[in-house]
Assembly symmetry: C2
Homo-oligomer: 411 residues x 2
DNA sequence: CCACTTTTGTCGAGAGTCAATAGAAGTATG
DNA sequence: CATACTTCTATTGACTCTCGACAAAAGTGG
């Protein structure tokens, strides 16, 4: 029933991580450990349906790869206590990179997708890929020496960029705000310096993936919205991240809204959501009322300070966003909408505006179980997502199977 | 969950054959025949990467199940001529049912998903499931005797209903226009009369699936829109039909549009697309101009006759629809939008209105390769889709594997 | 009619998996 | 503290499945 190939390009939610009974290699056994839990061999045999002897074969392979190992013994349940086996989270590293309009964030994550070491630096996107990727690699090297690890320990690289990406090749596709990056082959560049799998995706998509796996609820259908300097969204539908035909799915910033009549957007169209409700536009609206607000942070601070006009403006932005989200709910019928990005720090006021419109416009069927909330991860959302997707690909059954074959050939 | 193409690519190619260690059973071999083409054994061995002897084992199983057989011998290419093996399209039957607001259509399809015998009758939906399903079964029996086949020949039932469905269980979920059908277990009902797999889905979803497989172009991301008495859509994204959390995805009829201000919809909200651009509303708009138009057919006929006001009204409906579709394009980035339903017979005029708005509002990236066209299948679209989805499930690797095991147990 | 090509049927070797059995390491009990 | 019992781990031979080789069959072309 599930499309196996699609699992490649997405991170399944924990409850979907099942092993197909009967035929399963070392790669599929590994999947059982990805939740971070330790298991006894008997446990695993029951889970996979394999004979313990067969299972042992797989475990040997994974142990030789250094990915799993014994952890503390479990408590006896009346007989010999089980040896507990688990993923060794520090066995390898994931290099996560979040490229923003004006910043570069780099992190080293362990195999639990938790960023362990983190660094960032301001950049100028138009310096082009060569300069910026070099800077990213430099930061990575710094982190590596801080972590006392080496480049060889990096098993995969996950990178988020602020624009559409051809996911299969890892090339940015006509990114509006990334001059010089169009079709630049990012994975190829990394392969010259690292022997690792490289995954590139749109940053909002990565934030969506990162957010998704943070809660255990039904998250096969949800929408992540980033509201900051721009407005974008990542769509997870049917359990899979949706990228669309050209990788531009989720581009809600340029949907027309009612309050946008007569307001022109930098994209050349009239009445775009982004031309009305983005962080800079909220700030501008406040300046028009002689309130000092120049950045997204200013807006958030004003709201936090209880400034009435700022609260009003944010709530109105919420309504505007809600207009688009109401349509999205009709179209996609998600079970959750999560709001992230700098402006989402304005929390309840933004949500109030969104909810006001979405619950008014939405069909009862679609909205009765709909949750709308703010994101649980902040700046590091994209980094977490990047770690997760890179990890997922690097530890996919196919990838592990390939490594196992390699190992076998070497012996 | 449906993925015709992905199932195909799931057959290990020669170079992957070593990695996936021959886990392909009879079920996966069958998938190679679903395109309707005949293959020689050597062909198949090359395609699957299996040894011919192994392949033969699988073919024996499928032959015993009666699903495949020898067809005419192929031409010699310099040596012994190959025996060509193909799916036997008449081996089993698919029962396809399309339940509409006021009609019931039933068809018997062969394994190529082509409806062979077809019948229909008017119904009253509110008579409830028992009466109507009985009527459907009666029609099916009539067709069976006409086809000189029996109930046992039916391998699967595919049924489309005009409302949301919990796909996994086949139960309608709070369908607005189907009183008495809520949570009725349709598959269970059929199981009392037929030993067949039963698949139930929303009718527009089925039309989308039916349309999808009619053209060979990239159709992993496309949107099917039905415009008739109501307006709805079926979403195929990432190669899969999207149903959403409650099965109500694609419900574009109740998205608010600009021209809808002050117009109230039967759903209780203001300004819904359906309250402005549906068939009955177009007819009403024409009547307001003292033009005799009472049905969808009247509207289509007037347009065909070149009536200026009707053309204008249809084009305007296209613009209204385009407004919603422009947002959908931003959100989903499809490569195709297909318009079906009764009103789509008004063809180019409707399309012109849609294109006008979509291409104006859409981002260049998303619209440069976007095709917008009318459907190629008409009344039988849902029947074709129902056949296809039922067939796909009935002949899925898993289902075939199960049947093969059964067969083995019997021997 | 014979050499050559291509496809089809058969069978033993080898790889991989399983279930059984023996052994190890604990707990409960008198 | 010895014994019975429980639970987990290690090993091994039997069994199943798949592969590749080989031989036969059924054509073509000179």
């Amino acid at each position: 029933m599930l499309c196996f190939t699609d699992v490649m390009t997405n991170i399944p939610s924990p409850q979907n991580a099942q092993v197909s009974r009967g035929v399963s290699g070392a790669g599929e056994v590994l999947q059982l450990f990805l939740d971070g839990n330790a298991h006894s061999r008997t446990d695993l045999a029951a889970l996979t349906g394999m004979a313990r002897s067969t299972l042992q074969e797989r475990l040997d392979t994974l142990t030789q790869l250094g990915l799993i190992g014994l952890v503390q013994e479990g408590a006896s349940t009346g007989g010999r206590p089980p040896q507990r086996i688990a993923l060794l989270p520090e066995a390898r590293l994931i290099l996560a990179i979040d490229l923003g309009a004006s910043h570069l964030r780099v992190a080293l994550s362990n195999l639990a997708s938790v960023p362990q070491f983190q660094a960032q630096s301001p950049i100028v996107l138009s310096d082009g890929p060569e300069v910026i990727l070099q800077a990213a690699l430099k930061l990575a090297d710094d982190l590596l020496s801080k972590a006392k690890r080496q480049r060889d320990d990096i098993i995969a690289v996950g990178m988020g960029v602020p624009g559409p990406v051809i996911f299969d090749t890892g090339q940015p596709a006509n990114p509006p705000i990334m001059p010089g990056w169009d079709r630049f082959n990012i994975p190829e560049w990394f392969h010259q310096h690292l022997d690792a799998l490289v995954i590139v995706d749109n940053d909002v998509n990565l934030m969506a993936l990162g957010e998704r796996n943070q809660n255990d609820e039904d998250n096969d259908n949800f929408l992540f919205v980033k509201i900051a300097t721009g407005i974008g969204s990542g769509i997870i539908s049917g359990g899979l991240l949706q990228r669309g035909a050209q990788g531009t799915a989720g581009d809600i910033g340029h949907v027309r809204i009612r309050r946008g009549d007569g307001i022109f957007c930098h994209c050349g169209n009239e009445g775009c959501l982004e031309a009305v409700a983005s962080g800079p536009k909220i700030a501008q609206a406040l300046r028009d009322q002689d309130i000092e607000a120049h950045s997204n942070t200013d807006v958030v601070d004003l709201v936090a300070a209880g400034n009435i006009q700022a609260i009003h403006a944010v709530r109105q932005a919420g309504r505007d966003l809600g207009e688009v989200l109401a349509a999205s709910v009709s179209l996609l019928n998600p079970s959750q909408i999560v709001i992230g990005g700098r402006i989402s720090a304005a929390g309840e006021h933004l949500l109030a505006g969104i909810r006001e419109v979405v619950y008014q416009r939405g069909a009862p069927l679609s909205t009765q179980h709909l949750q709308i909330r703010t994101s649980r991860s902040w700046e590091d959302g994209a980094l977490r997502g990047a770690s997760m997707i890179a990890l997922h690909h690097a530890l996919s059954p196919q990838a592990i199977e390939a490594k196992a074959t390699e190992l076998l050939a070497a012996n």
